[in-house]
Amino acid sequence: MATEAEGGISIHPMDQFIIKPLFGGEHIAFYTPTNATLWMALAVLATIGLLVVGTRGRAIVPSRMQSVAELAYGFVYKMVEDVAGKDGLKFFPYIMTLFMFIVLANFLGLIPMSFTPTSHIAVTAVLAGLVFVTVTVLGFVKNGAHFLELFWVKSAPLPLRPILAVIELISYFVRPVSHSIRLAGNIMAGHAVLKVFAGFAAVAWIAPASILAITAIYALEVLVAFIQAYVFTILTCVYLKDALHPHH
């Protein structure tokens, strides 16, 4: 490798994503506790810490933690209400679950030496797949065959409608793909870039620039961690709206 030839630099930006068993061993069975397990469990603990322990006072005038919990609640609640409508509020706990998991996994993943479950396509594909299957089943249960009107654009001229139907159908099935790859890709890319710059910091004359770049990209990643959780959640709301009200 060219980088190694330059003397001492060894950059392994993807090593941080390797899934390892927590307690030694090589084989990874489906039940083996791994670093992914650890950081998912920490996300659960963080959720409990913020939304349960943080609100234990049930105060009329909230403490700081309770304010943050209420802010998160209000943020997602309003998003579901505004995008999916009043009848979408039944699904608020599910959407809140997705949001809390993604946002906390993202933020915990920004801790140096940590592992980010949401950087793995397996995780995001399951999340997006859950949304896709739920929304599709819900669309047919709620609207029956009328759900197919989602693909039949009535406002378009008749000859165009079959073509549009094909496009709509493709875009509908691409949804889970883009939904999952957007999240995993953003998180993975950011973390990999951080690692690359960190590798360059080993060379004395690049180190200052490298460290500056790490700082800047870290700040960007903090933003991305929240924005990707927000995007995933709001897209879920949009898909939910399509299932509840398939008429354009």
Partner: protein, 186 residues
């Protein structure tokens, strides 16, 4: 973002090169042997978060928010009520004040009228008394004057008689009286 992605892609390619050299799979994300493990733990995680949220966290936060909303609404209503009460109290106070003022005016007027009446009565009485006293005094003065005139006439007569006697003539009493009377009239 675009540069970031290309950099990441570059990094990924580099890592893939490394990994290939080391004999391990390129992107850990595409190591399908770890998928069942991740999916299993993700399912547990999501179920755990969902249970915590739906059983404890969301009802609690919802209740707190609703309670706060209710408290604020109640407080606003109470404040409105208290404001009305304060306005009422002020009106009552103003009314009491104006009543008291009117009462005071009435009492002042009444007292003034009473005093005026008493004063008038006293003045009239005093006037009457003064008039009576003056009349009495005038009467007495007239009496004194009359008696004084009489005395003057008597003295004049006596003096005239004596003077006439001293001159050696016998004075006629009636002539002297007539002369004195004529003089006194003058």
């Amino acid at each position: 973002m675009a540069t970031e992605s290309t950099e990441a892609a570059h990094g990924a390619a580099e890592a893939a090169g490394h990994a290939a050299a080391a004999g391990a799979p390129g992107m850990p994300q595409l190591d399908f042997s770890t998928f069942p493990n991740q999916i299993f733990w993700l399912a547990l995680t999501l179920i755990a978060i969902y249970l915590v949220l739906s059983r404890v966290a969301l009802p609690r936060i919802g209740a707190v928010l609703a309670e706060r909303k209710g408290t604020i609404t109640n407080d606003l209503a109470a404040a409105e009520e208290l404001k009305l009460k304060a306005e009422e109290a002020e009106q009552a106070y103003q009314k009491a004040l104006s009543d008291a003022r009117a009462e005071a005016q009435r009492i002042v007027a009444e007292t003034r009228a009473g005093i005026q009446k008493e004063l008038d009565a006293a003045t009239a009485k005093a006037n009457a008394e003064i008039a009576a006293r003056a009349a009495e005094s005038e009467k007495r003065i007239a009496e004194i004057r009359a008696s004084a005139m009489e005395s003057v006439a008597a003295v004049a007569r006596d003096t005239a008689g004596a003077i006439v006697g001293a001159l050696g003539a016998q004075a006629d009493a009636s002539a002297i009286e007539a002369a004195v009377a004529a003089r006194l009239k003058g």
